[in-house]
């Protein structure tokens, strides 16, 4: 019994021991989930179809798309004026405005105006606080 439980750790491969063990446990748990819930998993098409049909697609997908564009543009724009944080400021203003517009329900001028004002004030204030007051680097 003593021999069976004895373990020698090879330092060169010690980085793989725990990930392998955790991966093994995950595989076993995954198998247990498959075996105990296979009916639910096979019939999950309806569940996902329900989620898709009830989803507010323009708002959700619009948020994701706007966020991806926002993240993608921040660095290239910021590189035009290095170490000033202008990439964050210049990209955040339209991002906050467009996301706000996306989340609005009634889009009359009186509804859009506060969104526009906030889109100008909030990023400017945050940019000023972090770059000028806290001296933190922004893209």
């Amino acid at each position: 019994m003593g021999e069976l439980t004895r373990i020698t750790i090879d330092f060169q491969t010690s980085h793989l021991i725990f990930p392998t063990l955790v991966g093994g446990v995950l595989a076993l748990l995954g198998l247990a989930i498959l075996l105990t819930r296979w009916r639910g998993i096979v019939g999950a098409g309806g569940h996902w179809a329900g989620i898709w049909s009830q989803m507010d697609k323009p708002r959700l997908l619009g948020t994701v798309v706007l966020t991806v564009i926002y993240f993608s543009l921040m660095v290239p724009v910021g590189d035009v004026w290095p170490n000033r944080g202008f990439g964050f400021l210049i990209c955040s203003i339209p991002y906050v405005f467009l996301t706000g517009l996306l989340f609005l329900h009634d889009r009359g001028w009186r509804d859009i105006l506060p969104v526009a004002v906030m889109a100008l004030i909030a990023p400017s204030l945050v940019w000023w606080t972090f770059t000028e007051l806290f001296f933190l680097t922004l893209p």
Partner: protein, 499 residues
């Protein structure tokens, strides 16, 4: 004198200001204390540890407390932990007793917060002193116990354990750090991503993603429901409040605060479990259980004292064992990490000033919460009408700041935020349990060190069972929590864990 050094005007202003912002976050349905802390974390970069913690603890206490406002006035829990406050708070509001219900909830919140703070103050150092004796074996078993408790209290045991191990697995991506005794080799990195994932996924972008971005994606998915107008809010100007309402409620207050604190001490178990347990207990012990759910003040007392009791309780395992008690305290680990301080059994002994600062900040936050909410409750009632189409984009922007500045300007951390925001949103649909996942992610690297070093030192796998009587007790607790969970699941009375 040292205490006076801590209590500077800035320290007080941050604790009070944090409490105010926390109440606002808590009062807006869809926004939580966890989100408030995640979003405001970057503000602490330049504040220093004590001042930064004053802000974050204020946000924590305020965020948990603010949830009672929409729970009572709209029947919508502002935070998950206020769910049982709706049971009696909203019926009272419908009867024109909204203000009275709010004041009952505020007082119960204060009592719950202070009782749990007392337990934190006396119990955390004792537990830390005890935990100092733990070797790597016991430390590994403590983490295993934390994960099994969380999984056991999840709505689905199997998915809870799976989520916890998934969190550990993802936390292992990257280098096996030499500074922790590793060999400096990379593992689990997909080809081509070595440059980005050399250090693995950073903790804070992951947390901000699953608690900040994911919450907004969930709101976007349901169309970002229109905010309520003041016409929907029935505060009940004519309702009279008297402290005599609390006559006969002392037992309920103490019991519920105790339950909340105890649940807080259990790692990863959310406030909703605390309030549900204490509400059930209050109903069981009540002479008039039939009144519960119809506007019974005792229901609000139980729910609110329990969820505020959580605040002190959740800090106990964090400060004595280095294991966060809930999602919000998990983010507090980020604040310590930013300042290069490791939380664990040595924390209180090595950082007495920070420990005292935390206790003082909690006292100030609780008193500020009471003063602000009790005397300006009508103003906070208006918060529930703040338009989300203005708030959410700003929160998204703040999430970016938090993720980008954590490692002083790495854009990959911002992408990590998006990846884990989408993961958090999708994970809920896949029935993954987010709380065990997050705690697994936080504790994974430590679990690896403790596990591998134990085997290196002793060279025998049985050491995890035979090292000491503490190891045996921990195994009994691990097996006990799993057995209890299976038993409860069979009886159809499984608990609940929430992020």
């Amino acid at each position: 004198m040292e205490i006076l050094d801590i209590i500077t005007p800035l320290f007080l202003a941050l604790a009070v200001g944090g409490t105010f912002v926390g109440i606002v976050f808590g009062a807006i349905p869809g926004m939580t204390a966890t989100m408030a802390i995640a979003v405001c974390l970057p503000l602490t970069y330049s504040l220093g540890l004590e001042n930064g913690l004053a802000l974050l603890l204020g946000l924590y206490v305020g965020g948990i407390s603010g949830g009672l406002v929409p729970a009572i006035l709209l029947g919508i829990p502002g935070t998950p932990s206020s769910i049982t406050t709706t049971f009696d708070g909203y019926p009272m509001s419908q009867k024109g007793e909204g203000e009275k219900a709010l004041r009952i909830g505020i007082i119960a919140s204060l009592v719950g917060g202070l009782i749990s703070l007392g337990i934190l103050y006396f119990f955390a150092p004792v537990l830390a002193d005890f935990a100092i004796r733990f070797s790597y074996v016991e430390k590994f078993l403590i983490i295993l116990f934390a994960l099994t408790v969380m999984a056991a209290l999840s709505s689905d045991l199997l998915m809870g354990i799976f989520s916890g191990f998934l969190g550990i697995f993802i936390s292992l991506i990257g280098v096996y750090d030499i500074t922790d005794g590793g060999n400096g080799e990379l593992r689990l990195i997909p080809p081509g991503l070595e440059y980005w994932l050399d250090g693995g996924f950073s903790l804070l972008p992951v947390l901000i993603g699953v608690f900040g971005l994911a919450a907004i994606l969930e709101q976007a998915e349901v169309g970002v429901p229109k905010g309520q107008s003041m016409a929907d809010v029935k505060i009940g100007r004519d309702s009279s409040f008297s402290f005599s309402i609390f006559r006969g409620q002392v037992g309920n207050l103490v019991r519920s605060s105790g339950i909340g604190t105890f649940v807080g001490i259990l790692p990863g178990v959310g406030g909703s479990a605390a309030s549900i347990l204490s509400y059930s207990a209050a109903k069981t012990f009540s002479k008039t259980p039939e009144r519960f759910g119809k506007g019974e003040p005792a229901g609000i007392v139980a729910s609110e004292s329990a969820n505020n009791g959580l605040t002190g309780g959740a800090l106990v395992p964090l400060l004595s064992l280095g294991i966060p008690g809930d999602a919000a305290t998990a983010i507090l680990i980020g604040a310590f990490t930013l300042q290069g301080i490791q939380v664990g059994p040595l924390f209180i002994g090595n950082n007495p000033q920070t420990w005292e600062a935390m206790v003082i900040a909690m006292i100030v936050a609780n008193l500020a919460m009471f003063t602000m909410m009790y005397f300006a409750i009508r103003m906070f009632a208006r918060v529930v009408t703040v338009p989300k189409h203005i708030l959410f984009p700003i929160i998204l922007m703040m999430c970016v700041i938090g993720a980008y500045t954590i490692n002083y300007g790495i854009m990959f951390d911002v992408w990590t935020l998006l990846i884990f925001g989408l993961f958090g949103w999708l994970g809920v649909k896949l029935r993954l349990e987010i709380a065990p996942f997050v705690i697994g992610f936080i504790l994974g690297p430590s679990a690896e060190i403790y596990f591998v070093k134990s085997l290196e030192a002793f060279g025998d796998a049985t050491i995890f069972f035979t090292k000491s009587w503490i190891a045996v007790v921990l195994w009994v607790l691990i097996l006990g929590s799993l057995t209890a969970s299976v038993y409860l699941a069979k009886r159809g009375k499984g608990g609940e864990a929430t992020p």
